[in-house]
Amino acid sequence: MKNNHFLSRFAGGLTSFLRSDASKFLAPALFLVIVFYVIPVGISAYMSFTPLKNWNIDRYATQFVGLENYWKLFYMVTHDPSMKAILLTTVVFVAVTLAVNVLGGLGLAIGTYFMSERAAGASQLLWLLPRMTPIAVYSLIWYYFFHPSNIGTINSVLMHLGLIDKPIDIGQGIIPWGPWSIIIFVNGLVGVSYGMIVFTSAISNIPKELVIAARVDGAGNWDITRKILVPLLKWHIIYVTTWQLLSLITTYDHIFLLVQWNLVNRDYGSTWSLYVYNTAFQAGETDQGLAAAAGVVLVLISAVLGLITLKLMGFERMIREPRGDI
């Protein structure tokens, strides 16, 4: 009975929505989001129950294997060394990059706060550059930087300083921290700007009187940072942390070429998200069923995190009722 009531309410809401002006404005977005977001996710979930391989849709897409892909995934996580490496890499990558992003963003926001306006603007612009750079170019820059031969910047610098005799292969030779440092470094530089922007705009909303009063009382930059800025930014820090956590779990495009170009080790340079993509598209024999199963696990984790973030954002407060209906 209750269910029925819910359904009729939903149907009523739907018809009134379709009749409204708003539905015409929303139609294109809804179409795109449904075709290229909602349905693909449904398909991915469905694929995780099929033995789909090598994109042979005609042959495999209608077969049903139950939870087999999930068992396979579970078995790999517990037995396959390279899958274990990927899982470990994901955990370390997410944890360390998260710390780099949040602390780096906070450091930059506070650092630029104490700088002159022009210098602050210039350094913030500089830190936005990685985010706005074509991914292939960005990867190329760090490919040179960490290149295992003497053309690599790191190797060249270390050799000139006399710290090493011959070039070292950071991404393939020093397992696991070599590839880990590279992927953390590369993603860290992109992510820092997010925290920087949120914190900068939050700091600019802090009443100036607080800082002036502290100055008059003789407080230095460090006291102001520790006793005023950071405590007032508490919620922003929590929010940036959860949002960045979410992005880091799902990101893969900035690592993709580094693995593709063999700059970093395939196992200790791949995260779970990249594993999903590579299993579906790149490996010799692609296995979309397995990739989809690994993907569904990722979706579940990020959905929970996403809902937590929404709560933290104070979403309810953000959506004031609109004006504009007569």
């Binding site: 809401g13 409204s20 002006d21 708003a22 015409k24 404005f25 929303l26 795109l32 989001v33 075709v35 290229f36 977001y37 693909p40 996710v41 449904g42 991915s44 994109w55 849709i57 930059l108 650092g111 002159s116 210098a119 602050a120 350094s123 612009l125 500089l126 550059l129 706005m132 750079t133 074509p134 991914i135 292939a136 170019v137 190329l140 820059i141 760090w142 040179y144 053309i151 910047t153 997010y194 949120v198 900068t200 705009s201 600019s204 100036k208 800082v211 070429l257 998200s273 999903v276 993509y277 579906a280 598209f281 993907g295 990722l298 979706v299 996403g306 954002m313 504009g324 209906d325 007569i326």
Partner: protein, 291 residues
């Protein structure tokens, strides 16, 4: 954006020290980008500490524009065609994202409708959706509607533009909503009372009032399309600059200074935006982040 400054009684040398610390922290970014750009004008890769490695030449650029991928052997490619494909995708995505984002942003900013709250929460969640999972499902749809061979080329362009634009729609909507929110409701109210339809109001009155906002979303969409790697390499039947770089950076015949030139060419719009459209860059990131 640099907002309110600190009070004026801080000491000068402290400020310089902090600026130097930030500069030191930023050094890898500065070095990385400069070395690539310098290398594109050099016979050998410029490696950092060794000034002798910079031997100025424009040969790399000449080779690149001739479509050669190596000094001697290597493939011949039509680099202008590659640039054109990249541009087509970027402009297509920019146009689509701007149009759809401004329609949706308007509705969310100004209209009451059933499920408005849920739609907004949904858009935020989509923004953080695992892209690699999405692309697997999108690839299934791509194959499901694959046309006869001679149309695949055109189909792939349309597909990439639509699919890639969809990913940016949540963010574009959010940006546009922010701009519409700033316009006082009374302005369009009078037009509506005079009998104008919502579409007319949106097109004739509101959009012209938020030209900077529209420009920001166009720029944002362009950059998103221009910088994309995964969608173009997975679906597009034609190489873009991203794919060109992917294939040439570590190939057997790779001539790295030439790849550096390709990278610099690919980076050019970003550099231009950073030189001439700084306000727009801040607008995109700040309002995008604030929601």
């Amino acid at each position: 954006m640099p907002g309110m400054r600190d009070v004026e009684i801080r000491r000068r040398w402290v400020e310089v020290a902090i600026a130097l610390a930030v500069l030191a922290f930023s050094l890898p970014v500065i070095i990385g980008y400069s070395l690539m750009i310098l290398s594109s004008f050099s016979e050998k890769m410029v490696t950092g500490l060794d000034p002798a490695s910079f031997q100025p030449t424009i040969q790399n650029w000449v080779l690149l524009f001739q479509g050669r991928t190596a000094l001697f052997a290597g493939y011949r490619v039509d680099i202008w065609r590659i640039v054109l494909s990249t541009l087509t995708v970027a402009l297509g995505i920019s146009a689509l994202v701007t149009l759809v984002g401004s329609l949706t942003g308007y509705a969310i900013s100004r209209m009451k409708f059933a499920g408005r709250k849920h739609l907004m929460a949904f858009l935020i969640l989509l923004h953080a959706f695992p892209g690699s999972v999405l692309v697997v499902g999108v690839a299934f749809i791509y194959r499901l509607f694959l046309p006869p061979y001679q149309y695949v080329h055109t189909y792939s362009f349309f597909f990439v533009i639509l699919a890639r634009a969809s990913i940016e729609i949540p963010m574009a909507t959010w940006l546009m909503k922010g701009f519409f929110d700033m316009i006082p409701w009374e302005i369009e109210w009078s037009a509506i009372v005079d009998g104008a339809s919502r579409f007319r109001v949106w097109w004739k009155i509101l959009l012209p009032m938020i030209k900077p906002g529209v420009a920001a979303v166009m720029l944002f969409g362009f950059l998103a399309g221009w910088m994309d790697l995964i969608y173009v390499r997975t679906f597009l039947a034609e190489p873009t600059l991203a794919v060109f770089i992917e294939h040439n950076a570590n190939a057997e015949y790779a001539y790295l200074p030439l790849v550096a030139a390709a990278g610099t060419l690919y980076l050019l719009p970003t550099i231009l935006f950073f030189l001439f459209a700084q306000r727009l860059i801040f607008t995109i990131t700040v309002s995008g982040v604030k929601g």
